[in-house]
């Protein structure tokens, strides 16, 4: 007998058919600690073999699950142990990067993450070599994503790493100048990076994680904005928050179902469900639209940070009971190029870099997919990273910078990245210099509230 009422059934059908409910990614996190060989060639070979043998069925199984449940699974990905650690003794980072890229192509996934280093307190010589390898390695591969954690609430901010990362972003943009600096879309700089994030470009399998773990990222900004539209304009904010929670709960339950099924079928451990409202350039799949549905004429207007804070918190509260293990970044992403509503707000002059920075105090991550003029100096990029890290460090949250200094482009131009990465209007950056501050180097000490023990 049917144990659901008509409204419940029609709601689910509507969410999937017309409101873009999807599982954004099934990410298999793999440990590479058992792949260290005698030299770089052997290590690269072991890395390739492990990924192909362990995640070879990821795409097939994900497609089968999507067919069984009728819910699209948009991306299938792999994240690995930070590669800086795997090459600590053998070096040859570019070879390892190429091995990741070949393995990703072989098994048909769209991205592989974990070309990463964790240098939030200090940097070893091998980590320095690793960071130096990033521009060439990422520019010469298609599917590998890199991330570097340069700060944390517990340890402060490694400003030497921050300075280096500004330079590497700049170098990577120049190496990929023919595609608008698109290499930078595959490089993210973190403060308080999480070890079980399934989303790119920042996914890696943390050293404290298991050998093969399924982490699932669920999305559905379209579902949330439709729910708010149906709620109407007269509902007060408690009602708005409740509606978001209810919707987030339902979305996360789908993620939990898919994640546990994927873990079972792939003989892997179930890790976490990350409920992140991740927009796509598709109309109606926008976080900006949710904020505007809450009562803003345009995202970027006064009130945007407050609306985003309500959204981010309600999403977490709704998701937390829906899954046996919520993790990753869980909240609302605010990438510019990937969100139709954000792009329109930048074009009409409603949304600035400074407002986005304020929004990162309350969103789930940070400054994401933002194009700035190609003339922006490495020191200014480092200073933008330092600002974001300060927000993350003091507020005990993850923050990140994924910024594209688009070569030869200036304010008023747009950069097209294609696919889910979308297109980004080039945004103005404050022209005054922070070069002397960045040149100081050293470490920003951890804040007093890091002393918790």
């Amino acid at each position: 007998m049917l144990s659901f009422n008509k409204n419940e059934i029609l709601e689910t059908i509507r969410m999937i058919d017309s409101e873009n409910l999807d599982v954004r990614t099934v990410t298999m996190a793999l440990s590479l600690f058992d792949c260290v060989g005698r030299d770089a060639d052997e290590t690269a070979d072991l890395v390739y073999r492990k990924i192909v043998s362990r995640a070879g069925n990821l795409v097939k199984v994900s497609n089968e699950i999507a067919e069984t449940y009728g819910v699209p699974i948009v991306n299938k990905r792999v994240s690995v142990t930070p590669v800086s650690l795997i090459g600590a003794r053998v070096g040859g980072y570019e070879k390892l990067c190429k091995a990741l890229d070949s393995a990703a192509k072989e098994i048909g996934i769209d991205f592989i993450g974990g070309y990463s280093a964790l240098v939030h307190k200090g940097m070893t010589a091998f980590e320095r070599d690793f960071i130096d390898s990033i521009p060439a390695a990422i520019a010469s591969t298609q599917k590998v994503c890199a991330s570097v954690n340069v700060g944390s609430t517990r340890s402060g901010i490694n400003m030497d790493a921050v300075r280096l990362m500004g330079e590497k972003i700049k170098a990577l943009a120049e190496r990929t100048a023919s595609t608008g600096g698109s290499g930078c879309a595959k490089l993210v700089v973190f403060c308080n990076a999480v070890e079980d994030n399934p989303f790119m470009a920042g996914a890696f399998n943390g050293p404290g994680e298991g050998d093969a773990v399924i982490n699932v990222g669920v999305s559905g900004p379209g579902v949330v904005s439709c729910a708010l539209r149906n709620l109407g304009k007269s509902a007060d904010l408690l009602a708005v928050a409740e509606e978001i929670k209810r919707t987030a709960f339902k979305i996360t339950r789908v993620g939990q179902l898919v994640a546990s099924e994927a873990a079972k079928r792939l003989d892997a451990q179930f890790g976490i469900v990350d409920l992140s409202l991740a927009p796509t350039p598709k109309v109606g799949d926008s976080v900006a639209q949710i904020l505007e549905e809450m009562g803003l004429e345009s995202v970027g207007a006064a009130g945007t940070t407050a609306c985003l804070a309500i959204l981010n918190d309600a999403v977490k509260k709704g998701g937390v009971m829906a899954s046996s293990s919520v993790g990753g970044l869980s909240g609302a992403f605010i990438p510019v190029s990937e969100d139709d509503g954000m792009i329109r707000a930048v074009r009409r002059g409603a949304l600035t870099l400074e407002k986005l920075e304020a929004m990162t105090c309350v969103c789930s991550v940070g400054l994401d997919m933002i194009a700035v003029p190609g003339s922006t100096s490495a020191a200014t990029l480092s200073a933008i990273i330092a600002d974001e890290c300060a927000i993350g460090m003091i507020n005990n949250k993850t923050t990140a910078v994924r910024v594209i200094p688009a070569p030869g482009k200036d304010v008023g131009d747009e950069v097209e990245f294609g696919g889910l990465l979308g297109r980004a209007p080039v945004m103005p950056v404050n022209p005054y210099s922070a070069a002397e501050f960045i040149a100081r180097g050293g470490r920003v000490p951890a804040p007093v509230h890091s002393l918790k023990n």
């Binding site: 059934i9 029609l10 069984t68 009728g70 339902k250 789908v254 939990q256 179902l257």
Partner: protein, 87 residues
């Protein structure tokens, strides 16, 4: 496995006959059926035991049939509704 079949479209004669005979051809057994007309729109929800027929096959056939008779037919695994609406 159990699937929920939802049919939504402009009301006309023969919709139930078309859909149920399609399901019978595919070896699916209809276990429950509920149907209403909402402002000229025909809404029918069925619970079917699909036996060994893969949902993908059913969906492909249903899509074709839906186009032919001018309704939207959706076939979903029962578990997705349980996950979303039952704690």
């Amino acid at each position: 496995m159990k699937a929920v079949v939802t049919v939504v479209g402009k009301d006309k004669s023969g919709i139930i006959a078309h859909v149920t005979s399609f399901l019978a051809e595919k070896g699916a057994n209809v276990e429950d059926i509920s149907q209403t007309i909402l402002q000229d729109w025909f809404v029918m929800i069925m619970l079917a035991d699909t036996g060994d027929t893969p949902l993908t096959d059913l969906r492909k056939g249903a899509e074709k049939l839906g186009e032919k008779i001018g309704v939207n037919i959706s076939i979903q695994h029962e578990d997705i509704f349980t996950a979303m609406h039952r704690i």
